[in-house]
Amino acid sequence: MTDTRLRLVILGGYLGSGKTTWLRHQLHVGAFGLRVHVVVNEAAEVPVDDALLAGADGMTLLSGGCCCCAGRDEMIDALRRLCDLRSRKSAVEVRLERIVLETSGLADPGAIVAAIQADPVLVNHIVVDETIVAVDALHALAQLATEPLGRRQVEAADRLVLTKTDACDPAALACLRATLAVLNGHATVSAAVLGEDVALPPLPEDARPAALIALAEEDGRGPITPTQVAIPEGMDWSAFTLWLSALLHARGNDLVRVKGVVRTPAGRLLLQTVRKVVQSPEILPEQGDMRRDDVIVFIGRGYRPEDLGRSLRRFLGLPAAAPSAMALEGSP
């Protein structure tokens, strides 16, 4: 059975990071397909941009506050309305295929994913496809140094788009990329100037991440580090889900992100979580890059990295063999 649910792309990024500029160009070149509806959330009232409308099938403006907190009900209502209109058409007709939700600069994409998964209607109609976060190459380092929200946005991303890279000093850009790799090692990174994709130079060998001091909100649990855990061969998927769900229940607030591809009897499953919320696993086609199969990346803090692999092996009843987890130093 194919999944006929609406695809939702969440576009986030800090205030002034170039979300709208990027989205406008992507809609113009048709990067999200033809049948796409754009939902824009502005914390402040702004005039609707005609150019934005031109590339999309329709557009909704949510101006009742940030949609991850104060404006959440309005966002849920808008999405429900779209689902309702779409459900009145049969699957063979031309109908809406995708929604792009541009969040306000103050929104935490993780909270939006959680709100959609918790809504009994939307969870049946919408599947979150991708979280794209725009990162301002000029100002992101300063924001990441002081703003917990900026870090949460980067951590929640599947894809990071660096904007304004043309105006940025190459050394600062390399430092930013290294810092982003520490915060979120699994996201793909690309660059865009005024929405147009530009090629990123290869990351210099000597690029060092900026030191991220712990922010007040994060207390003393230490820095967020990525850990890779190799999945033992022939692992029992049921036992693994027991282990991971228990881990997420006990440590969900410390585990910012879990992502990986697991081989199961049903095929290759792409597993990903944002804090305690697990997105419904997607079955991947057999071809593609198989080298990263059966490795799960845990991004979090407040535990010893090697404990993850030990705990999994113990849970599966396997002997504590060779160290199966290794902390990635700096550049994953």
Binding site: W237, T241, S245, A246, R251, A266, L269
Partner: protein
């Protein structure tokens, strides 16, 4: 979704992925309940999934019972019944103490 009882409220919990046919799903439920039973025994709890009624039954040795719908709810209920969360990274579980 069933009109009368509203079950299931969401399309498949993520932990139920990986079983395609109805037979596979039932087998996976029995297998999962057996595993859960062995995990919960040291905490003084039992788990049962008969395969007929939706949900997993969690009970204490003194007879308190609860029916939960998925593994996410299992761990929340276990925390409530046992008075502590089952933490796979607990040093006692890892045998470090």
């Amino acid at each position: 979704m069933c009109n009368a009882c509203g079950n299931p409220a969401a399309p498949g919990h993520w932990t139920e992925a990986g079983a395609a046919s109805a037979g596979d799903r039932l087998r996976a439920r029995f297998h999962r309940a057996a595993l859960l039973q062995s995990v919960l025994r040291p905490y003084g709890l039992t788990a049962h999934d008969g395969g007929v009624v939706p949900g997993i039954q969690i009970g204490t040795l003194t007879g308190a019972q609860a029916i939960v719908h998925n593994l996410e709810e299992v761990w929340a209920e276990v925390e409530r019944l046992a008075g502590q969360a089952v933490d796979p990274l607990d040093p006692r579980y890892l045998g470090d103490d």
